[in-house]
C-alpha cells in the first residue's frame, strides 16, 4: 500500500499521507517509502494534515527523515499539523527540533 504521495511545487518536494495514523504499525513502511523521495530532493515539505494520530514510532520515523535530510545537506519542514499532533510535538519538545508551518503558502512565503 502506498502510504504517501509526492509532488513538486516550485522547487519544493511536497510529501502527503494517504493514512490517518502514523504509528508502530506503519512507521517502518513509511520510512522505506519516503527514503527514495528524500534521496532525490534537497528541499522537502511533509503535509501532516491527514494525520490524526502520531505515536512515538511515528515521531521516530519523522526524526529519521530529518536526520537523513540534514546529513545530506537538505532541509525538511512539516506543515498542516492537526491540534492533537501539535500538542504531542510540544509535549515531546519536537516543535523545537522541526521547522513547523501552518500551510504550504507559509513555507513558500518564508522561502521568498
Amino acid at each position: 500500500m502506498n502510504l504517501i504521495n509526492s509532488h513538486q511545487q516550485d522547487d519544493l518536494t511536497v510529501i502527503s499521507f494517504n493514512i490517518n495514523n502514523l504509528d508502530a504499525g506503519n512507521a517502518d513502511a513509511f520510512r522505506k517509502q519516503v527514503r527514495p523521495v528524500l534521496e532525490e530532493s534537497k528541499k522537502v515539505a511533509i503535509d501532516m494534515s491527514a494525520l490524526q494520530f502520531v505515536d512515538s514510532s511515528g515521531l521516530g520515523a519523522l526524526l529519521s527523515c530529518l536526520r537523513f535530510c540534514n546529513e545530506n545537506g537538505g532541509s525538511l519542514v512539516l506543515f498542516g499539523l492537526q491540534r492533537t499532533v501539535t500538542a504531542l510535538f510540544e509535549l515531546m519538545r519536537m516543535h523545537r527540533v522541526f521547522n513547523l508551518f501552518t500551510s504550504i503558502d507559509e513555507i513558500v512565503g518564508a522561502l521568498s
Partner: protein, 405 residues
C-alpha cells in the same frame, strides 16, 4: 438547618479530569471542592448534610465518612445498585434524589437548602433563607449577575418587580438573553415541594419541577445575591480557578506548605533545591514531591503530592496532578497533566500509554522500567540531534532548528 449537596453527576464536560475523580472531589490546590462547600455550610450553621452519590461514589464517601472532622453530621444517599461486586450507577436527577431521601427517612422536615457540589461559593446562606421566608415561597433560587458574554454558559432567570421568576432561559446566546441573572444551583425549598416529584424515577428540578410549580400557579422566587461563585463545569474553568488559587487570589483557599521564596510554596517531605532549578513564581509544590536539579518551573504552576519532576523537564503555567512522573524530555506548557493523560484547558487530550511516550508522563508510583527497543531507538534518534540535547541540558528556549532554507 439541613442541606443536600448534589454530587452524583459524571462530570462529562470535565473529562479527562473526571475519569478517575468525581467532579466534586477535584481539588483546588489540595482541597476538594466539596470539602470547601462543607466547610462553608458548617460556618453558616448548617449541621446536617446529605450528599447524594453515584459516579465513583466510594471516592466521596470514604473521604468524608461521618463528617465529624468538619463539625457536621454527614450522610450519603447512594443511587445505584451492586451486582457481582460491581457498583452500577443509577442517578435519580436533582429532584429524584430529594424524593428518595425523603421516602427513606423524612429527612426534609423544615426549610432546607440544596446546592450543587461543583462550585466554590461564599454565599450568605442565612440571608438567603431569610429572604425565602420573607416571601413565604415554596422555592427560592440564589441568583448572581454575570457579564453578558458569559450568559451562554448558564441558566438565566427573568424576574418581575416582586422577585418572582417569570421565565428561564437555558444557555441563551448573549444577544437573545433576557437577563444576565443566572441560576447558581443553590436553592431553598419547603418540604412541600416534594409532592411535585414522582417516586422511583429520575427527575430534574430545572426542567420538570419548576415548570410543574409554575403550571400549578406556585411562585418561584429568585434572590440576587452578591457573592463569589466559581463554577468549575468545564476543564477551562477548573484550570482558570487553579491558576487563581496558585497566585493566591482566592481568599478562602490558602496556599499550602511553607513560602521558601517569594511566591514559592513547598510542602513537607519534598526534595527540591531551588538554587539548582530555574524557577519563576507563583508556584505551589505539595508534599513528598521530588524535583531534580535542572528542572525549569515557571508559574502559575502546581505540582501535586508524590510527583517526580526529572532533571531537564520544563513546566510552565500548568497543573501536575498527584503521583505524576514528568520525564526529562517533557515540556508541559499551559496544560493539566497526570500519569494517565495530558490535557489542554479546552479538553484536547493526549494519552501517554496509547502514544507510547510513557517515559515522558507516567504514574510516579509505577516502578521505572527498562525502555523497550522501540523507546530506546526513539531516544537514540533524539540524541542524534545535538540541539535537543543542548536544550535538555541548558533549557534554552529558542528554536533548536532556526536554520533558514
Amino acid at each position: 438547618m439541613k442541606a443536600l449537596i448534589l454530587a452524583a453527576g459524571k462530570g462529562t464536560r470535565l473529562m479527562p479530569l473526571s475519569r478517575d475523580c468525581p467532579k466534586p472531589m477535584l481539588p483546588i490546590l489540595d482541597k476538594p471542592v466539596l470539602e470547601c462547600l462543607i466547610e462553608h455550610l458548617a460556618s453558616q450553621g448548617v449541621t446536617q448534610i446529605v450528599i447524594n452519590t453515584s459516579y465513583l461514589a466510594p471516592e466521596i464517601e470514604n473521604y468524608f465518612a461521618s463528617g465529624r472532622r468538619w463539625g457536621v453530621e454527614l450522610a450519603f444517599s447512594y443511587e445505584g445498585f451492586e451486582e457481582d461486586g460491581v457498583l452500577h450507577e443509577e442517578p435519580l436527577g436533582s429532584a429524584g434524589t430529594i424524593r428518595r431521601i425523603q421516602q427513606h427517612s423524612g429527612f426534609f422536615d423544615d426549610t432546607f437548602i440544596v446546592m450543587c457540589g461543583d462550585a466554590l461559593l461564599d454565599l450568605d446562606l442565612r440571608a438567603l433563607v431569610a429572604a425565602h421566608h420573607q416571601t413565604g415561597a415554596l422555592a427560592t433560587l440564589a441568583l448572581t449577575r454575570v457579564s453578558e458574554d458569559k450568559v451562554s454558559q448558564y441558566g438565566v432567570a427573568v424576574l418581575d418587580d416582586l422577585g418572582r421568576i417569570m421565565s428561564f432561559q437555558e444557555k441563551p446566546k448573549p444577544h437573545e438573553a433576557l437577563s444576565n441573572l443566572v441560576n447558581t444551583g443553590v436553592y431553598v425549598f419547603e418540604p412541600e415541594i416534594i409532592k411535585y416529584i414522582p417516586e422511583h424515577t429520575p427527575y430534574d428540578l430545572g426542567s420538570e419541577v419548576f415548570p410543574a410549580l409554575a403550571r400549578d400557579g406556585r411562585a418561584i422566587y429568585g434572590v440576587e445575591m452578591n457573592f463569589n461563585w466559581i463554577d468549575i463545569g468545564r476543564v477551562a474553568d477548573y484550570y482558570s480557578v487553579q491558576m487563581q488559587a496558585i497566585a493566591g487570589e482566592l481568599p478562602n483557599i490558602p496556599r499550602l506548605g511553607k513560602e521558601i521564596l517569594p511566591n514559592v510554596f513547598v510542602g513537607a517531605n519534598t526534595r527540591f533545591d531551588p538554587r539548582r532549578c530555574h524557577i519563576e513564581g507563583p508556584i505551589v509544590i505539595a508534599d513528598s514531591v521530588t524535583i531534580e536539579d535542572g528542572a525549569t518551573l515557571i508559574g502559575p504552576l502546581f505540582i501535586g503530592r508524590g510527583s517526580v519532576i526529572e532533571r531537564g523537564a520544563h513546566l510552565e503555567r500548568s497543573l501536575v496532578f498527584e503521583y505524576t512522573r514528568v520525564g526529562a524530555q517533557a515540556t508541559l506548557s499551559h496544560v493539566l497533566a497526570s500519569g494517565r493523560w495530558c490535557a489542554q484547558p479546552d479538553g484536547l487530550t493526549i494519552d501517554p500509554q496509547k502514544t507510547g511516550i510513557a517515559w515522558i508522563l507516567a504514574d510516579s508510583r509505577t516502578p521505572r522500567k527498562w525502555l523497550n527497543q522501540q523507546e530506546q531507538l526513539f531516544l537514540e534518534q533524539i540524541d542524534d540531534f545535538p540541539p535537543v540535547c543542548e536544550l535538555i541540558e541548558n533549557m534554552r528556549r529558542e528554536p533548536a532548528f532556526s536554520r533558514p532554507w
